[in-house]
Amino acid sequence: MKDGQGNRLLVGKLVLLTLGMFAFGYALVPLYDVFCEVTGIGDRTGTPTAATYLPTEADLDRVVEIEFVASVNQGAPWEFRPAVSRMQVHPGKLYQTTFFARNTASDELVGQAVPSVAPGQANRYFQKTECFCFTEQRFEAGEGRDMPVVFFIDPELPDHLETVTLSYTFFAQDRVAAR
């Protein structure tokens, strides 16, 4: 019957549309990145990858408080804490601090720290020239060590920001290591 054919054709198109939209859902994952890259909005990676340089002049009149926070992802077997919980810094001057991590598990672990800066506005002004978060960290069973971060605050940091928090979450890196 002619009518049945018409129905089958339309059903076929609609089923294709459904499958297409399912695929589109997955395509959104890379598409969002592409969109942010093309338009330059989003700032998903935090700082631009261009070389950071230390300003020649430190702003000694201004004091910014930096807070350090360390946390461990979902029951991963780490002991993880900052050496100092806060520092007073001058923008434009280089500082160093350390975070201590210890593997409390009974076998070797690889960990990766993921940094986050709060408030988000301060993100692009918080420059890390050296950081343990840049690489994966390998720990023997029970091993603990201090890991350095070297950073400075860009003097362009907006005036109303008086406190900046740098937090690290330490992930047990079985998934990344497996990749």
Binding site: D3, M21, V29, Y32, Q74, V176
Partner: protein
């Protein structure tokens, strides 16, 4: 369709009876009834969960349930109301009414229709049984944001597969509705002659096909993140939890229009009937509906202004969201203009439709307030948001469903419902829904967060009022169930036209509508 012969009239009249009739039925009226009864059951089930929430929030502090169970209640209430009550109710209305309104003998794909209904009880059994699990039901909110939702215990895969089944059911239902509307209209019924309820459903069905698969993709990513080592949303593996919110709300915002466009359609049928005037601005209603559907795809990030979006993004989503007020305003003004100088009467369906126009507009205005990105930083995740979306979903979508049920119930059962009880149900519902949700605007603006079982003591009075309203509203719905039940059992016989001002093909068939209608297509002037 023009050469319809009498050979088509030999329908199988040896119906199975009892349970088997309902399990195997392919009749659009039976399936419509199944959908509607199912959604009423889910409405009462999900509503009782809301009463657990309101009972706990009657006073500050923790009284009745532990916080974990409270979270399960907020999550399950939302999932059940969205996917189990409102969406199936509209699909049920579409099943019953779309073939009658376009003059088709049945839905285009009757067996698929049976299947798309019977998937739903399975989905909600999967979801509901998690309440009995040792770790309890899903408790991370119906929005299922990672990483929190990935901490769900054994209930997690059940949640995901239940969502998959709900999605399959909706998409199959949507395909069926589109094919019926596109291919089975009576001769002479051009697209711009279709009743508005049919139009809104056609557009809603396309929305369903466009976004339910995206939700299916998003929850599949959650599933593989938890069990199969992918890292779509896990920062540890290079993923991004915010990505989930983007994908979810790409589904989620069209989803809220899926729940409201058919309500617009229902109200656009009822107001002309009881104003005894044709709908004002029919064409503009169609175009407004289509515009709302289009705009729903470019506003999703207004649900996530606080994730740290760039200014350009905030501005775009703020303005695009506000733009939706324009076509929505067109609709509201058209309804008001339809009533203008009409010979209005106020039977129960009209009362619900009028309350819809008034109270939905309040929900729309609070939505405009939430669209203001800088202000949203204050409102985000507070009870103001809860008040906003309950205003558009309860006196919005749910009232439209109730209006539709009262409007078409005589056609379905052949009897008039009890008008006195219907009006009592309306006034109890309309007053208590405002008592419940209006104070939530105030506590929300003052900073009371949503989804938390305890609150600061200054919010006590408004919460107590809100809880009282919720209990009155909840128990009033038992009256609704009784009215439907008693109307199905008997009462004053309904005429074919039922309502004096009613116009449309569905009123040309006898009341109750016989099992088979329009075996010979009607001719549209």
């Amino acid at each position: 369709m023009s050469s319809v012969t009498t050979t088509q009239d030999h329908h199988d009249d040896h119906h199975p009876t009892g349970l088997k009739r309902w399990l195997t039925t392919t009749n659009h009226k039976d399936i419509g009834t199944l959908y509607l009864v199912f959604s009423l059951t889910m409405f009462l089930f999900g509503g009782s969960m809301a009463l657990v929430i309101r009972a706990e929030l009657f006073q500050p502090g923790l009284q009745l349930v532990d916080p974990g169970f409270f979270n399960q209640m907020t999550t399950m209430h939302a999932l059940i109301m969205v996917f189990g009550a409102i969406m199936p109710a509209f699909v049920g209305l579409a099943n019953w009414m779309v073939p009658l309104m376009v003059g088709a003998p049945d839905m285009a794909l009757p067996r698929l229709n049976n299947w798309s209904f019977w998937i739903l009880p399975m989905a909600f059994t999967l979801l509901g049984m998690t309440l009995l699990f040792p770790g309890g039901a899903p408790a991370a909110g119906w929005t299922m944001y990672p990483p929190l939702v990935l901490q769900t215990g054994d209930a997690f895969p059940f949640l995901i597969f239940a969502v998959h089944l709900m999605g399959i059911s909706s998409v199959l239902g949507a395909i069926n509705i589109i094919v019926t509307i596109m291919n089975m209209r009576a001769p002479g019924m051009g697209l711009l002659k279709m009743p508005l309820f049919v139009w809104t459903w056609l557009i809603t069905a396309y929305l369903l096909i466009l976004v339910m698969p995206v939700l299916a993709g998003a929850v599949t990513m959650l599933l593989t993140d938890k069990y199969f080592g992918t890292s779509f949303f896990l920062a540890a593996g290079g993923g991004d939890p915010v990505m989930f919110q983007h994908i979810f709300w790409f589904f989620g915002h069209p989803e809220v229009y899926i729940m409201i466009l058919p309500a617009f359609g229902v109200v656009s049928q009822i107001i002309p009937t009881f104003s005894r005037k044709p709908l004002f601005g029919y064409d503009s209603m169609v175009y407004a509906t289509a515009s709302i559907a289009f705009l729903s795809f470019i506003v999703w990030a207004h649900h996530m202004f606080t994730v740290g979006m760039p200014l350009a993004g905030q501005l775009f989503f703020m303005f695009s969201t506000m733009l939706i007020a324009v076509p929505t305003g067109v609709k509201v003004f058209n309804w008001v203009a339809t009533m203008w100088k009409g010979a209005m009467t106020f039977e129960t369906p009209m009362l619900f439709a009028l309350a819809f126009v008034f109270l939905f507009t309040i929900g729309g205005f609070s939505g405009l307030m939430l669209a203001i990105a800088p202000a949203d930083m204050q409102y985000h995740d507070t009870y103001f948001v809860v008040a906003h979306f309950h205003y558009v979903l309860v006196p919005g979508a749910a009232f439209a469903i109730m209006a539709a049920v009262y409007y078409w119930l005589p056609k379905w059962t052949g009897y008039m419902y009890n008008e006195t009880l219907g009006k009592l149900h309306f006034w109890l519902s309309a007053i208590s829904v405002n008592v419940t949700f209006f104070p939530q605007h105030f506590v929300g603006l003052a900073g009371m967060p949503r989804r938390i079982p305890d609150y600061a003591t200054q919010f006590t009075d408004f919460n107590a009022i809100s809880s009282v309203g919720a209990f009155v509203f909840g128990f009033s719905q038992l009256l609704f169930a009784y009215i439907i039940w008693s109307c199905a059992r008997g009462g004053q016989k309904a005429t074919d036209q039922v309502w004096e001002g009613a116009d449309g093909l569905e009123w040309t068939v006898p009341s109750p509508a016989p099992h088979h209608t329009f075996d010979t297509p009607p001719v549209i002037k």
